[in-house]
């Protein structure tokens, strides 16, 4: 029951808010925050009580929800970030609408359902709703074509990957797992299991914006910052990682899955980190960084380090949502999120500057902040893994950490750089929105809470137990090495920040989107148009063509020249008309011609009959 409340309350309130229209707008923000607090309370209760529900969904297919160790962490994380984000959003004037609050709640419900689902079917349901909610939230400013385009890209890309889950469900059924329960999936029969795993992996990579799907996250940055903070840092993108962590036993049951996933994670960590360095738009930088950081979770999942992955997830959630919210606050206040335009912003809004610094340093992996611990835990798990390429993965991971330090510090350098003496009026043209010049008071508390989390969550392994105390813990030397790498590259980054190159390829996120458009979208559109033309011209006119041929024959027959068939009715009708004309020709009105035709008819018939008799 508790679980139904946990999912149902935000869902229902969200739907009602989203559909009621503008009448509820004045109340929306408060209602949203209130419900999110309720959700937090319910989440905490759920963690304590650990409820389990299970019901039939389809014939033999179960729909179950449960809170266990892994989901407990996620439920609380989601709830906390939700509260923080909604409180923050309450400060933003154009987000104080029923639509926004409602969609956020719907999204949260879907996320909560995703992480508590115990079966593939309910997971897929929640998973897809999450995608749709993200579409609506990214495209919140629906008059902005870029936002809408970003929303489309995000939804369609993730849905493409989601097809993997549909296939996985079918494969599971075919493999003998009729109930589609997650914990029984590894028992699927061999051939189908491979398909199952492949489907799950693709879906997870897509949702988590891993290579090669990362590009959608770039477009998604056109959405409001709180959306980015909730969806594109803490929750939705992490869902893919969550899925792989959750299905770790399944990955383990197929030999190639673990290494593949691990390498994709590592590659994303490094590759998207490099892309982040090339970004000069703060949100784009953060987005690329998100891909990279989630790469570590994926890496952890690939090497079987569930605990490490969860730790990274939680730490990253706090850190990144903090950073996004800060970026959003600046965007509101200053009207820009370009690093160049943010000069002096940290000095102008000291609180923002402080929390942003905490977050960025955590992101850079500077000890003793949370991501330093988390990342090292992941790397430790990597080293401990039996995979033959463990060392290589470790090195790539470490390189990724170095890159992370560079871009984090680069961003810090820009925001702390002294402001130009006076803002140029012409610079207004470059602004992305009207600056308000102030940061609402409401934004403070959530940022502080998140900053505390970003700084302190690294202690979790010391306090926690079970999942939160991942084995193996990083060796002391590992911690030292990574700290050294982080600090040194950070120092280099601080000095080189202004001079860091922005190669076009990296700036454009490795041209992944262009590739997708070139390889997938355009061919499909072409195909669609061709088929439509085919449909109109060929299928529909197939009969028409026969008709035209018949008309030709009719003309040939009729030397006097029949008037062309006027095509009021196309297709069959045309042909039939032509035939009809032809069939009327015997009816000349001349009796002697009737006689002649009838005689010939009967003679032919009689001859035919006799021939049949003689031949037979």
């Amino acid at each position: 029951m508790l679980l139904w409340w946990l999912i149902g309350v935000p869902l229902l309130v969200g739907v009602v808010l989203a559909l009621t229209g503008r009448r509820v707008d004045p109340l929306a923000a408060a209602l949203g925050v209130g419900v999110s607090v309720v959700v937090l309370v319910l989440a905490v209760a759920a963690v304590l009580i650990r409820p389990v529900t299970d019901t039939t969904l389809f014939a033999g297919v179960r729909a179950g929800f449960a809170v266990d160790g892994l989901s407990a962490v996620l439920v609380v994380t989601v709830a906390v970030v939700l509260v923080a984000v909604l409180v923050f959003a309450a400060g933003e004037p154009d987000l104080r609408t029923g639509r926004f609050a409602g969609l956020m709640l719907v999204f949260a419900a879907a996320m909560l359902a995703t992480v508590t689902a115990t079966g593939l079917a309910p997971l897929l349901m929640a998973w897809e709703v999450m995608g749709a909610a993200s579409w609506a939230l990214i495209g919140y400013h629906y008059r902005d074509p870029a936002a809408v385009r970003g929303a489309h890209t995000a939804f369609l890309t993730t849905r493409t990957a989601d097809l993997g889950l549909y296939l996985a469900a079918g494969a599971a059924l075919a493999g003998g797992v009729g109930s589609l329960r997650l914990d029984t999936l590894p028992t699927a029969t061999a051939g189908w299991r491979e398909l199952l795993v492949a489907g799950v992996v693709v879906a997870a990579l897509g949702k988590s914006a891993q290579l090669p799907f990362s590009f959608w996250l770039s477009g998604a940055m056109r959405g409001p910052s709180p959306v980015s903070a909730l969806l594109h840092s803490a929750t939705m993108v992490a869902a893919g990682a969550y899925l792989l962590l959750r299905l770790n036993p399944l990955l383990g049951s197929v030999g190639w899955a673990g290494p593949l996933v691990a390498w994709i994670g590592a590659a994303t960590a490094l590759g998207m980190g490099l892309a982040a360095v090339a970004q000069r738009d703060l949100k784009q930088l953060l987005a690329a960084s998100t891909c990279a950081q989630i790469g570590y979770m994926i890496l952890a999942a690939g090497v079987g380090g569930t605990g490490a992955g969860v730790l990274q997830l939680v730490a990253h959630a706090a850190t990144k949502s903090l950073l996004f919210l800060a970026a959003g606050a600046w965007l509101t206040a200053l009207g820009t999120k370009q690093l160049g335009g943010l000069a002096g912003s940290a000095r102008r809004f000291p609180l923002l500057g402080a929390v942003f610094t905490v977050g960025a340093l955590s992101l850079a992996g500077i000890p003793p902040l949370s991501l330093w611990v988390a990342k090292d835990t992941v790397l430790a798990a990597t080293l401990a893994a039996p995979a033959p390429s463990a060392v290589a993965l470790y090195v790539v991971g470490l390189a990724g950490a170095a890159v992370a330090a560079v871009y984090s510090v680069m961003a810090l350098w820009f925001v702390w750089r002294p402001a130009p003496p006076a803002p140029q009026p012409q610079a207004l043209d470059e602004l992305e929105q009207e600056p308000t010049g102030e940061v609402p008071a409401l934004t403070g508390p959530p940022l502080v809470v998140l900053a505390v989390g970003a700084a302190g969550l690294g202690v979790l392994p010391l306090l926690g137990h079970g999942l939160l105390r991942p084995e193996p813990a990083p060796q002391w030397w590992e911690l030292v090495v990574s700290a050294a790498v982080a600090v040194s590259t950070a120092a280099w980054g601080w000095r080189a920040a202004i001079r860091l190159p922005e190669p076009g390829l990296l700036h454009r996120w490795w041209d992944l989107e262009r590739a997708a458009r070139l390889l997938v979208v355009r061919p499909v559109r072409r195909l669609a148009e061709e088929l439509a033309r085919f449909d109109d011209r060929v299928l529909d006119r197939g009969v028409d063509a026969t008709a035209r041929a018949t008309v030709g024959v009719a003309r040939l027959l009729d030397r006097r020249g029949e008037t062309a068939v006027d095509g009021i009715v196309r297709g069959v009708a045309d042909g039939a008309r032509a035939l009809g004309r032809w069939a009327r020709r015997p009816q000349t009105g001349q009796l002697h011609q009737y006689y002649a035709q009838a005689s010939v008819g009967f003679v032919v018939l009689a001859v035919l009959t006799v021939v049949v008799i003689v031949v037979s």
Binding site: A121, M125, R143, A169, G170, A528, E529, L539, V569
Partner: protein
């Protein structure tokens, strides 16, 4: 009881017929709404009482069987089971919605209402019929009445030719169907047209070319009505030219007659051949799915687009029932899922596409065109319309939480074991549908506001009126209900689907 359900609208039509046409339209529409409500109430009663009727799997409830032409084995035989009852309910709901929607109809209201009442009777009758000839009777009459609706109340002169095409094409299909029925009739000893008896006797159990021809005739007949690629070309013009309510009924109810025919007639009565050619059905379904979706993507006309998505959605149904015939490949649970999914898809498509066509009608009413390019940014001007349309679009693209997902998920998971590659290809259909609906939403509602300024657009571009809202919202609400809590429907459908599969597997 069933006879009452089926013939109540016709009876109302008979009562209305002598009234002078000069009476205000509300009188007629009101009577229609009342009839539809009463019918719906009766069907709900039947639904509730169905468990009490104590019918085993494969059995029928509320059966009525009267000799009609006993010397040739034709009887007036009605009955419902889990296959037909949901469709009956869907039909009643859709007609009710259309009735409410038609409150704004001003053109020749009396015959309009009479035709719809007649259509309602034949639709309900078809889904309750347990005799091939009775089935054919309703099948054929549905074409006749729909012809008059399209020709009489469609858009301008082109409607006439679209209606003609519709009539000729589907009539050809119906006659192919009749040929198939005759072949079935002749195969059975004693000769009979009774579906239940034929299913029990399984006269063509041996298969062979005769049975294959029978299946071909029936299959083509139903495929035209469904329609599947390549028999679909009547559908887009018919939809484009039909009035909104006509389109809703055409897509929502009449298309189901084809797919329902497959599960009610082709599968149980020709199991051997069905198994033999199930892969063909499945592939035709998969092709329809992908083809319909892709062609819809390229459309610039909203109604044509929705029409093509209907081809796509009906393709899923074929995939599901095709998989059910691949007995050797899938286990019983998978096949039940596939068949159940196909049945749910019928109900779901009826509700969702009905809503979409009614919404398209609203658009036409305001802007006098279906061209997507003529509109932009309507979300600001008409938020309620935009919201409902968005919901309908997402429901149609198979988003979880709506009935479409419940159907499609079951179809995919249930069919994949049977034929992985065609089904995997078919799955991409949901992606293309997603793309096309997003594009449509974007063109219509997002971006800067732009309205068509053709001379035929006299009135202000208003948001949904109360009647329109009351007509459309319940359809989507039902689709959502099925999407979130499908058990009430599945409890009914699953045993029936399993029973059909048992018949197919013998």
């Amino acid at each position: 009881m069933l006879s009452l359900i089926v013939f109540l609208p016709a009876a109302v039509a008979v009562v209305l017929a002598p009234l002078p046409a000069r009476l205000p339209g509300h009188v007629f529409v009101g009577a229609w709404i009342a009839a539809a409500l009463a019918d719906l109430a009766l069907i709900v009663t039947a639904w509730v009482r169905l468990p009490a009727a104590g019918v085993g799997p494969g059995g029928f409830a509320f059966e009525v069987r009267l000799p009609w032409i006993p010397s040739v084995g034709i009887s007036y035989h009605l009955g419902v089971d889990g296959l037909s009852l949901p469709l009956l309910a869907m039909t009643a709901v859709l007609f009710l919605a259309c009735g409410v929607f038609a409150l704004r109809e001003t053109r020749r209201v009396k015959p309009f209402v009479l035709f719809f009442l007649a259509l309602q009777t034949v639709s309900l009758g078809l889904f309750a019929a347990l005799d091939l000839i009775l089935f054919f009777l309703f099948f054929d009459l549905s074409i006749v009445f729909m012809y008059f609706v399209i020709a009489g109340w469609g858009h301008a002169e082109r409607a006439r030719s679209a209606a003609l095409k519709f009539f000729l094409y589907t009539f050809l299909g119906s006659l192919a169907l009749l040929l198939g029925f005759i072949l079935l009739f002749l195969a059975a000893t004693p000769h009979t047209f009774d579906i239940v008896e034929l299913a029990a006797a399984n006269p063509l159990a041996a298969g062979g070319p005769y049975a294959a021809l029978t299946l071909l005739a029936i299959g083509v007949g139903l495929a035209v009505k469904t329609p599947t690629v390549p028999f679909h070309t009547w559908l887009p013009p018919a939809h484009t030219e039909a009035p909104a309510t006509g389109s809703a009924i055409l897509a929502g109810v009449l298309l189901k007659m084809g797919t329902y025919g497959f599960v009610r007639i082709a599968m149980p009565l020709l199991p051997t051949s069905w198994r033999q050619y199930a892969l063909v059905v499945l592939v035709v379904g998969a092709v329809s799915v992908v083809y319909g979706a892709l062609v819809a993507l390229a459309q610039a006309n909203l109604k044509r687009m929705v029409a093509y998505t209907s081809i796509n959605h009906m393709g899923y149904v074929l995939v599901g029932i095709g998989a059910a015939g691949l007995v050797a490949a899938g286990d019983a649970q998978a096949r039940t899922l596939a068949t159940t999914g196909a049945l749910v898809q019928m109900v779901s498509h009826g509700l969702i596409t009905g809503a979409l066509f009614l919404l398209a009608g609203v658009l036409y009413d305001r802007g006098r065109t279906y061209e997507l390019d003529s509109y932009s940014g309507l979300a600001a001007r008409t938020p309620r319309f935009a919201a409902l349309f968005a919901v309908a679009a997402f429901a149609s693209l198979g988003l979880p939480g709506f009935s479409g997902f419940i159907a499609e998920f079951q179809i995919f998971t249930g069919s994949l074991p049977a034929a992985p590659i065609p089904v995997a290809i078919a799955v991409t259909g949901i992606l293309v549908t997603a793309a096309l609906f997003l594009v449509a939403l974007q063109r219509l509602f997002l971006g800067p506001l732009r309205l068509p300024d053709a001379p035929g657009t006299p009135r202000a571009f208003t948001d949904l009126r109360a009647a329109e809202l009351v007509a459309i919202a319940p359809l989507l609400a039902l689709a959502t209900l099925i999407g979130l809590a499908p058990r009430f429907l599945l409890e009914l459908v699953e045993p029936a689907a399993a029973a059909v599969n048992t018949l197919v597997a013998r």
